[in-house]
């Protein structure tokens, strides 16, 4: 499988506090790559850096092109999509409108100023794929929590993102929804690189192709699920520190 995104020596500084401290990361197409680590390990900040929200040093290269210094929307147009911890969809717009917007970043001003003739095919197809085929005209604001997360993922799909950075995509979901989401992730990862920031260890074990553990801004371990969970340093981080109740809860859930 080809490497979609290569991060080298990423370093993010917040007023003297180093949130990400020299991280190397490779995301390959065909893999669901989990990023785990305790709170404050720098997972979300790393995603912020890659997507252009946080300033950093180092380098992020996608398909041979350096992304550092580019604006948020330019990075997005190069096929890097992300979701957020709390689902951010456009609540007052319908599901179809949400997806149509996500599909149209390259539209000409002229076509923007006209009314939508019909839904683009990929929007219709994606709606089915994320299980919202019946909800086209439903305002996104009244979707169930899990549906919002799916919609958000769907918005990345129609936008032709081939590197997906998902921040806690199953937060607040029930068991069945988690399963569906996990299968969806593997399904879409067939020809894309998917990175998932997650606390839920069961979910990770069930669906991770590869795991990278971050701790205090640096990569602690990286490899398959078994390799990582066998690593003594990882166990220490997760079991030896008391300030990480969610991870423990999640691990025992």
């Amino acid at each position: 499988m080809s490497t979609a995104l290569t991060c080298k020596d990423i370093r993010v500084d917040f007023d003297g506090f180093t949130a990400v401290d020299g991280v190397d990361l490779e995301l390959d197409r065909g893999e669901v790559h989990f990023l785990i680590g305790p709170n404050g390990a720098g997972k979300t900040t790393l995603v912020d850096a890659i997507t252009g929200l946080a300033k950093y040093t180092g380098s992020v290269v996608k398909d041979g092109e350096e992304l550092r210094g580019k604006k948020v929307h330019h990075i997005a147009r190069r096929g890097i999509g992300r979701t957020f911890q709390t689902a951010t969809v456009f609540e007052s717009l319908t599901v179809a409108q949400n997806l149509d917007i996500a599909a149209g970043a390259g539209r000409s001003p002229w076509s923007l100023l006209r009314r939508r003739k019909h839904l683009p095919e990929n929007v219709v197809a994606t709606m089915e794929r994320i299980g919202l085929g019946d909800a086209a005209e439903t305002p996104a604001g009244i979707l169930a929590h899990g549906q919002k997360q799916w919609l958000e993922i769907g918005m990345l799909l129609v936008g032709d993102a081939d590197v997906l950075l998902l921040d806690e995509p199953i937060a607040g979901m029930g068991h069945d929804e988690r399963e569906t989401t996990g299968r969806l992730l593997h399904d879409i990862a067939a020809d894309r690189a998917v990175a998932v920031v997650e606390h839920d260890m069961d979910f990770m074990r069930a669906f991770a192709s590869r795991v990278t553990v971050l701790h205090a801004g640096a990569v602690l371990a990286s490899g398959s699920v078994d390799e990582v969970s066998g690593d003594p340093r990882v166990q220490e981080v997760y079991l030896g520190t008391a300030h990480e109740p969610e991870a423990l809860d999640a691990a025992t859930a």
């Binding site: 179809a96 006209r114 009314r115 939508r116 003739k117 019909h118 839904l119 086209a136």
Partner: protein
């Protein structure tokens, strides 16, 4: 859900086209007279057949100018009540239609039009700022009606449809300069709010100073309503001028005089001559900050005459003992009497008759006799320099030899030739 979007876009284009067409059609069909063609002014709807006659009172009762203009409103009501008590005008009782100018020129224009066209008043009394008068002027000219404007102003205007009963520049600014020159002032510093009256006043002062060998050491304008005067006062203080000529307006005076007193400037070493501070304003500034400073007006509450004694007493009886009377109030009071006297002389309420008979109409007013000048519709008035004393009132320290003829375009002053242009 696929709708019919192409049609939608076209729909809206069609709506646009239709609207444009309708507008164009109606507009061209309705075209009236073009430039240069005489238009007939709207027929006056003033009805004087009954035993009352309506007049308008148009003052700001809300907004920033309400502070000053409500006092003028009171004076207008007092005059109307007195005239009615004495039998009215032409035997008819005067009925006031009151409107609020809301301190906005556009509202003044709107309400003036309403008073003339909807309420059919015979004349309107009111306005304060020049902006409000300039806004109303075309309304009164186009509808051929009458406005009586009671406030001193910057001159350079004469409309057949407006009577100006406050002072023009040669009845206030120039006497003030004469007085300063007489007392040996050789250098001046000019401080004003940034609007038309102070700028025009200072243009006149500069011309006068050039002609009379007075040096103008500085000229500063503060934004209207500004309360930050340390820079200006620093500059005034550093200039070492003999006197300051102050055309500030409203709340700015409070901040200016406080700062002035606080840096230790006194009326003895550098007196301030103000043209916008009357009895009403002294209280807010604080007597300790302004005592001994000078003002230029035509009327003070302290003017000694039987007419003024009666006016002050009537006013206090009506509105309360703590109230004071001031120049614009007196001018507004006079304006009602002058209108009534003109109507009596003309024997008619018609605008044309009033215009024809206005010249020479006089009224024994609180400030002394005032006489309408039929050419420029201003009023001959006595100029007075007042000093502010510890009781908060102004006392005359100098007055002109009788009423000064109004000269709004300063045609009688050679040094002002460069300033003025007559239409």
């Amino acid at each position: 859900m696929p709708l019919r979007p192409k049609l939608e876009a076209r729909d809206i284009a069609r709506t646009l086209a239709a609207t444009a067409a309708i507008t164009g059609l109606i507009a061209t069909a309705a075209c009236g007279s073009r430039a240069g063609e005489e238009t007939v002014a709207a027929e006056s709807c003033v009805d004087t057949s009954g035993d009352t006659v309506k007049v308008g009172a148009l003052n700001s009762l809300s907004g920033t100018m309400s502070i000053s203009e409500t006092t003028v409103r009171d004076a207008i009501y007092l005059a109307v009540a007195e005239i009615n008590a004495a039998g009215g005008v032409q035997g008819k009782e005067i009925e006031i239609v009151a409107e609020d100018g809301a301190s906005e020129p556009t509202v003044f224009a709107e309400k003036a039009e309403k008073l003339i066209r909807e309420d059919c008043v015979a004349a309107v009394f009111g306005g304060w700022t020049s902006a409000s008068r300039k806004a109303m002027l075309p309304v009164f000219e186009d509808n051929d009606s009458l406005l009586y404007y009671p406030v001193q102003y910057e001159g350079l205007e004469a409309s057949p449809n407006i009577f100006y009963t406050g002072a023009t520049t040669n009845q206030q600014i120039i006497p003030a300069l004469d007085y300063l020159a007489e007392t040996g002032v050789e250098s001046l510093y000019l401080v004003g709010s940034d609007y038309v009256f102070p700028r025009t006043a200072n243009a006149i002062i500069n011309a006068y100073a050039a002609d009379h060998g007075i040096e103008v050491l500085g000229e500063d304008y503060a934004q209207l309503g500004s309360v930050e005067f340390s820079t200006i006062v620093n500059q005034v203080s550093a200039s070492g001028a003999d006197a300051v000529f102050n055309t500030l307006n409203g709340d700015s005076n409070v901040a200016f005089f406080r700062e002035y007193a606080n840096v230790g400037l006194t009326p003895e070493e550098m007196p301030v001559m103000s043209v916008s501070i009357a009895e009403e304003e002294v209280g807010g500034i604080g007597i300790e900050n302004i005592e001994g400073q000078l003002a230029a007006w035509n009327y003070y509450q302290t003017v000694e005459s039987p007419e003024n004694a009666a006016f002050v007493e009537a006013f206090k009886t009506e509105y309360g003992d703590e109230r004071v009377t001031s120049d614009p109030m007196e001018a507004a009071y006079n304006s009602v009497y002058l209108w009534a006297a003109t109507v009596e002389k003309a024997g008619s309420f018609a605008v044309a008759d009033i215009q024809a008979n206005a010249d020479g109409v006089s009224f024994a007013s609180p400030e002394g006799t005032v006489v309408i000048n039929g050419d420029n519709h201003h009023v001959a008035k006595t100029a007075r320099i007042g000093e502010i004393r510890s009781d908060g009132l102004l006392y005359t320290v100098w007055e002109s030899d009788g009423p000064i003829e109004p000269d709004p375009f300063l045609e009688g002053y050679d040094w002002a030739a460069e300033l003025t242009v007559t239409e």
